[in-house]
Amino acid sequence: MIYLQLFIEFFKTGLFALGGGLATLPFLMELTERYDWFTKAQLTDMIAVSESTPGPIGVNMATYAGFHTAGIPGAVTATMALVLPSILIIVLIAKFLSGFSENRIVQAVFYGIRPAVAALIASAVFGLFKTSLLLYTESGTLTPAWGIILLALITFVLLNIPRLKKLHPIIFLIFGAVMGILFRL
């Protein structure tokens, strides 16, 4: 039963996540609200893992989510479900449509979708900020985790220095891990 649910949810993600890469993020965010497959904090870890391992991020995220939920069979199910819509649609396009990307209607659809995808990813990132930068105190109220916020700001500044910009994300992630241990974040 869990496999069928995984299959349906990731098939839907593969079908509606346009633009690739992080486009899967808003859908995964939605999953944290509807199922207890993984939490928002785990989703953040998942992004870190995906950024530091090879392969398309969307596929990595599906694999990680599937594995987290139902082990290796879950990972296989989620990944297959994610790529199935691509296979079906691309084969259809390759077979029947030439000049698909020049089509007026396709271009009109994407004119509307591109800013919407950017907005959806932005809203998912807001959600990540909330779980990563705020902490629950013992009395159950949310307070800002100043150390983590400071580290995030420092990293953001570093990321915008032209010479450091081209460095692989894994280097920044290692920097974060080291700072986290040093300052007991």
Binding site: G14, A17, L18, G20, G21, L22, P26, A41, T44, D45, I47, A48, V49, T53, G55, P56, I57, G58, T63, Y64, H68, A75, V76, L82, V83, S86, I87, I90, V91, I93, A94, S101, R104, Q107, A108, V109, G112, I113, P115, A116, V117, A118, A119, L120, I121, A122, S123, L128, L133, I148, L151, T155, P169, F175, G176, A177, M179, G180, I181, L185
Partner: protein, 183 residues
Amino acid sequence: MKELLELFCTFAQIGALTFGGGLAMLPMLKHELVDKKEWVTEEELLDYYAIGQCTPGIIAVNTATFVGYKRKGIWGGVLATLGMVFPSLVIISLVASVLSNFMENTYVGHALAGIRAVVCALMLGTVLTLAKKSLVDWICYLIFFGVLILALFSPIPVVLLVLLAAAAGIGIKIFGRKKDKPV
């Protein structure tokens, strides 16, 4: 049969060696598919990429399906795609199983807190770049902020928001321009 195996292996190699996905994969795909294997021309590859960006799913996966289909029909498409995702399946499953065993450790906890801060910074950078690239006129800004507010404060599902934006695009581009078109 031999060529199907070759498709699987070639795309498995690409999947194992490229970080980041999306546009980051283009140079690698060009090197392997255009220069080394001569399976497709550079123009074809760019066309596949363009189509990949306007069809659902992951761009790298879409490109793999396209190239595989062109070489060996449907099974070619399937095997190229499976090759592309195979390394992710193995690597991520390994990482995930190791990670969940270490989650309880205090040092790992501190390291993860630091890593999450970095992920926030990386994501913020990505969102800003993405917004810069996709917000080309004031209508785009309108759609962007409209969808952002709905996504943050309303319970409307993501799928519906994507469909709404597509409808808005058609409405504006196809029907909205009719009046001022020269006859």
